[in-house]
Symmetry: none
Subunit: 331 residues, 2 copies
C-alpha cells in the first residue's frame, strides 16, 4: 500500500503538505487538496482512520428517487442491499445526492474522504457530473439502470425492459388494441431510453406503426399525466403504457376527470408494481420489477467488483402482473 | 479420494488446522477456513458427514467442451461452480452429454429421474434437442454462452464479446493493421454468432470494410486453422483474430510452416486465455475470460433461479491481455 511519503514523492511536495491535504487542513489551497486526494485514490492510499475502523463501509448514493416509505420505489432496493451486506459485515450508509454535492466534490474524492470502499448508485441521470466521473472511476461502483462501457470497476443492475414492455404490448394487441400510447418517464435517463426503444421494438414486432402523437417523455411522477394524456386521447389512444406506476396513477385521475372508465373506455398499464398498484381502483396491471432482489443483485455485483471480479451486467426478468386495468378494446 | 493429509500437504499447514477448517472450528480465520474448503473441493475431498447425507443435487451438463485437464476451457468453470455450491451443501455431478442422450430422453425427464434440482449447461449448440426443450423448461437452468427469452427459469452467464473484440480490433488498428481477419469457432453456436457480430461492429467502429475473404467459421479446435488461414493470407490479412486460443495455436502452426514470423509478418490474437496462451512461443495476446469467476457466477445465477429469483443475464467483462503475438503492421 502507498504511504504518505509515496504521495509526496509522486507530487514533488512535502510530506506535511500531503498530510494537510488528506486531513482537510484549511491552510492549503482547494486545488492542491483535490490533487492530493486524487493522487491518494489513484495510489490506493488509505488514511489511518480508514485502516483502524472496524467497519468496512459501502455507500448507497441516491438521486431523483424516493426511498423512505415502504410505498417508495427505492425502499425495497435498499432493504435487499442491506440484508446482503449485513451478512458480510459491511456498514452501509444511505446518502441523498444533490447537484451541489456533485459540483463541490469529485466522485472519487467524496468516496475516499468518507472511507467508502464502493457505492451502489440509484437514480442518477445521464448528464450528472458524477455519472461522467463514474465512467472513468477506479472505485467499485454498481449502477441501477445505468450502463458504462469498458470500465472494469463498474457494473450495471436492472430489469429487462424489452421483455416487460414486449409482454404488455403483446397482451394489449391480443385484446384488439392498435392505438397503444406510451407515456415515458424523464428524459436524460438511460432507462427511459431503453424503455422507449423497447416500446418501438414491440410495436414493430406486432406490425403497428409508431405515431409520434402517442408517445411522450414526462417525469416519473403522477403529475406528468395531465400534460400528455389529453393529447394521446385526442390522437385515439385506447391503451396507455406508463413509465412507472406513479405515472399510471396520474393517468387514472385524468381519465376519471374526463368521465372515461378503466378498462371499458381506456386500458392502462404501469411499470414496477409498487404497493400502490394493487391498492388503487381498479387494480393496476403492471410490469413487475422485483426490487428486493434487485437490491440483492446490486450487492452481489458490488461485492464482486470489490473483489476484482468484473461483472458488467446483472439483469432480472420482469413479470407481467395482470389486474383489472386492461380490457378488450372498446368498439 | 483425497485425504485430510493431502490437503494439509498441498497447503503446507497442519492436519489439525485442515480439520478445523473442514469442521467450522471458531479458532481459525474465516479466510483460512474458506481456503481449506476451496482446496478440499478442488481435490475432491468429502467429509464423513457429506458422504452420509442425502444431498440436494445439481448437474453440470457439458457438451462440445473439454474440462478434465487444467489446460481445458471447462476446468476452471467447473471448479468455480463447485467451490460455491459446496458452501451451500449441494452435491454436484458433472455429466458429459451426447446427442443420443438427448434423443433418448427429454431434458425435464432426465433431470427429474436423476433427482437434479437444477443444471448448469456448458457448450450446448443452438440446434441441440435439449436447447429447444430448455427454452420452455420449468427446471432452474443456467446456460453458459446461450440465451433464452421469456423463460423465468433460465438464465445466461457469459463474457462480453463486444468489449473483448472491440478492444482487440482497436489495438490492432492503432498498430496500423487494416486487413484484420477473424477465424471464428463453430457455426450453430450462440456465442459464435455474438463474436461474429462483435467483429463486424468493431470493423465499422474503426471505419474498416468487411471483406468476406477475411472471415470464416471453423471449429473451436487448432485444426480449423489449416483450412482457412491460407485463404486469409492470400487475401492480404496482416492480423488474425481467433474464436479461441486453440484456434490461435493452429494459426501459429500454419504461419510457421509458411515461414511467416509472429508478430513481424503476421499478428495473432486469441480468445479465453487458457494456460496454453502464455506457454506457446511467442506468448499469445488474447481476450481473457475469467473462467473461475464465470463458474461462480453460474452458481449464483442457478442458485437464484432455484430460489425463484429470475436472473436473466450475468455478464463479465473480458480483459485484453497483451503478450508478444501482435506488432506493428509490416510495411
Amino acid at each position: 500500500m502507498a504511504t504518505i511519503k509515496d504521495i509526496a514523492n509522486k507530487l514533488g511536495i512535502a510530506v506535511s503538505t500531503v498530510s494537510k491535504g488528506l486531513n482537510g487542513a484549511p491552510d492549503i489551497s482547494e486545488d492542491l487538496r483535490q490533487l492530493v486526494l486524487d493522487t491518494a485514490v489513484e495510489m490506493g492510499y488509505k488514511t489511518k482512520r480508514m485502516r483502524k475502523e472496524n467497519h468496512k463501509k459501502l455507500a448507497i448514493l441516491i438521486e431523483n428517487m424516493d426511498y423512505e416509505n415502504i410505498n417508495d420505489f427505492g425502499y425495497d432496493l435498499i432493504l435487499g442491499f442491506r440484508q446482503m451486506a449485513y451478512r458480510d459485515n459491511w456498514q452501509v450508509d444511505v446518502i441523498h445526492v444533490t447537484d451541489s454535492m456533485q459540483e463541490k466534490e469529485k466522485y472519487n474524492t467524496y468516496m475516499l474522504k468518507h472511507g467508502y470502499t464502493g457505492a451502489f448508485c440509484m437514480g442518477f441521470a445521464l448528464q450528472d457530473t458524477w455519472m461522467k466521473q463514474i465512467s472513468k472511476t477506479g472505485i467499485p461502483t454498481a449502477l441501477l439502470d445505468n450502463y458504462v462501457t469498458l470500465n472494469q470497476h463498474v457494473g450495471y443492475v436492472g430489469t429487462d425492459s424489452y421483455e416487460g414492455i414486449g409482454l404488455a404490448v403483446k397482451k394489449l394487441v391480443k385484446m384488439g388494441h392498435k392505438k397503444i400510447a406510451f407515456l415515458n418517464g424523464s428524459r436524460n435517463s438511460w432507462v427511459s431510453d431503453q424503455r422507449q426503444e423497447s416500446y418501438e421494438t414491440a410495436l414493430k414486432d406486432n406490425k403497428l406503426t409508431l405515431d409520434p402523437a402517442l408517445t411522450a417523455f414526462g417525469h416519473y411522477v403522477a403529475d406528468s399525466a395531465k400534460y400528455h394524456v389529453p393529447g394521446m386521447l385526442e390522437a385515439g389512444a385506447t391503451a396507455i403504457l406508463c413509465g412507472n406506476d406513479l405515472i399510471a396513477s396520474g393517468v387514472y385521475e385524468v381519465c376519471k376527470d374526463k368521465g372515461l372508465r378503466i378498462p371499458e373506455d381506456i386500458s392502462v398499464v404501469g411499470f414496477d408494481d409498487i404497493p400502490l398498484a394493487s391498492e388503487i381502483e381498479p387494480g393496476l396491471t403492471t410490469i413487475r420489477q422485483d426490487r428486493l432482489e434487485l437490491g440483492k443483485c446490486a450487492y452481489f455485483t458490488l461485492n464482486s467488483l470489490v473483489h476484482h471480479v468484473s461483472i458488467s451486467k446483472t439483469m432480472l426478468r420482469p413479470q407481467f402482473i395482470e389486474r383489472d386495468s386492461i380490457g378488450k378494446v372498446a368498439k
